[in-house]
Amino acid sequence: MKKVLTQISIILLVLSISGVQSAEKCSPDFEMSKSSIVNNNQNDSSEKGEVFVFFDQSTTMQGFTIDQPGQENLYVNIVDDIQQIAENIGSDTIYQNFGTEINPMQDRDVAKVKTKKFYECSGSSVACNNQSSTIQEIFKIAEEIPEATHIVITHLSLQDRQLVGNESKQIRGPLTSILKQGKSIGIIGVMNSFNGKIDNIPLRSGEYNEYLDAESRPFYILVIGNQDNINRIKDNIEENHFSSNKENFKYALITSSPILQNLNENKLIDENNMPTKLAREENFNFSYIEDYLPVYKFTGNKQTKMKFKIKNNQIVVPGSTGVSKFSISEKVWTTNKTKCKDIKGWNEANFGPLSEITQNNDELVIDLFTEKPLKKLFRGVRYFYKIDVFADKPGNSSEKEFSEWSVNSSDIDKFTQSNPVSFKTLNLEKFVSILNAVSGDTFKKTLIASFAVNFNLTK
């Protein structure tokens, strides 16, 4: 009797071990899609790089240094702030001025930047008239010294010729190279009091005009470098001068990838990305496969609603061009065994598109099973539906951001004749659109999130 009992126990033990070893196939075998996001936020080296600060020395900049009654003058304070930040973020700060050419500045000249005298033209009257800033030269320097941070303070009025043909190439070429190296360009715009002469206003006749009645006009701080430094400068200016009212402050970030992060790598997807109702479905369970792919498992019915939502601020770099087009890649596997322990294998389905993706101001919404509703799927079948969400095309939100302060060369004559108190920047929108176009060229389709739903469909 004892012998029989021992034999039974051995058999039971063997059976229980084999039962444990036969792993459940609750999900199909597939290759995890991984993201190729380059983190633009991090400095490659732990060392602080050099900081180049370029001051636009064209005579029209004088107007920012002279107070205008009734208007707030932030130029002097902001220039002061920039000098301080530049000293803090860089191991070495190099000051240069630029107009028709770029020249290094002596330390004693740096303090003069806040004064009218700094902008007085010392050349001949011919040279002093019709100046145009050689901003393209600064981009070349930034391309040559990509590890440094480059800060440019300028009125940013660009002539048509600077934005077409060969001169345009001189901007696009270095920009492409800068963005490809993972660097970004921040444009900070400040509407400031202005008391001076705005020259170089192109007329339809081909001649140039000047305007003296402007009481305010924007100036710009371009920052070329890594996003950390750009954000630091932007945050500093914003907090010090525009914490209560941002009406006179604008910001855009041009980057090779406006994507902040891949949500899977940082495990930022949770139950709340789906409607709360889903968590109340029978047998609901949320877990990560291989510490990477979040899976919503449940028993659903043909009325189950699945809307996966991602907040824009989780995926889009703040202030960047944003993303104008998202896409999804879908894969479905099926099995007619509804219990995981019975599943021997999964079959790859070919349903075609099942869901659609839309974006509003706050969030990205993936409406599951809109193209092919659940009521068209078979009951009594377990479905494993994996979705990869991609950013396809960068947006142009920065163009819109600055369009209010921009005037085209074709309209500037008419605009000047309207005697504006607040003057706009010539060709600003075109300049930003060039930056956007370059960033669009360097943009690569990026995986921002992956998730799956594993459900058994009932009545």
Partner: protein
């Protein structure tokens, strides 16, 4: 009331039912055993009854999915055949209780037969609907619209014929005029 006549009606009705009803019995048995490899029936179901494209795109082998459809059809034909048998026997037995006390009065009960038959056919339709269109069986999802029409039409015609043969032979001799073409049956010792 002669019990011998009722039993003879039941027997005759059973014979009438069996004349065509065996096909249903055979079909039910076939379905109850489930799909058999690449049988013609399995292929016919795939070609005629189900949503071919949806099944193909689901990636699941038809043979695996067909198990539940076979089960559905086996249960449905069992329900239909049972209903038919019960209806035919009910009428056959009930016909002996019709008050036919004058010549030609049996024809008066034709309206009864029509109503009874109408109820039977409504039950047939209800059974087919319950199996093919309601959420009772998952396999109903596989059926195409054409498949449902084929199943409905065949069931409607076939089970009516089974029922009709059952009552044609099983109805009491004196009440035969109450059913369609009942008076055409020759009167003999056997019938």
């Amino acid at each position: 009331m002669n019990m011998k006549h009722i039993l003879r009606s039941v027997l005759l009705s059973a014979i009438g039912l069996a004349l065509l009803g065996w096909v249903s019995f055979w079909f039910t048995t076939l379905n109850a055993f489930g799909p058999d490899g690449e049988s013609d029936l399995l292929q016919w179901y795939f070609n005629k009854l189900v949503q071919k494209e949806e099944i193909t795109s689901s990636g699941m082998p038809w043979e695996e999915l067909a198990v539940s459809l076979y089960n559905l059809l086996a249960q449905m034909t069992t329900a239909l055949l049972s209903t038919t048998v019960v209806a035919a026997l009910l009428w056959s037995i009930g016909s002996h209780f019709l008050n036919v006390n004058a010549p030609g009065k049996a024809k008066f009960y034709f309206i009864y037969w029509i109503i009874f038959t109408g109820i039977f056919m409504a039950i047939v339709v209800g059974i087919v609907f319950w199996f093919t269109k309601s959420a009772a069986f998952n396999a109903a999802d596989y059926l195409s619209d054409d498949g449902v029409i084929i199943i409905s039409a065949v069931s409607f015609i076939y089970y009516f014929l089974v029922y009709y043969l059952g009552i044609l032979l099983g109805t009491a001799r004196f009440a035969r005029s109450s059913i369609l073409f009942g008076n055409k049956i020759p009167v003999s010792e056997l019938l």
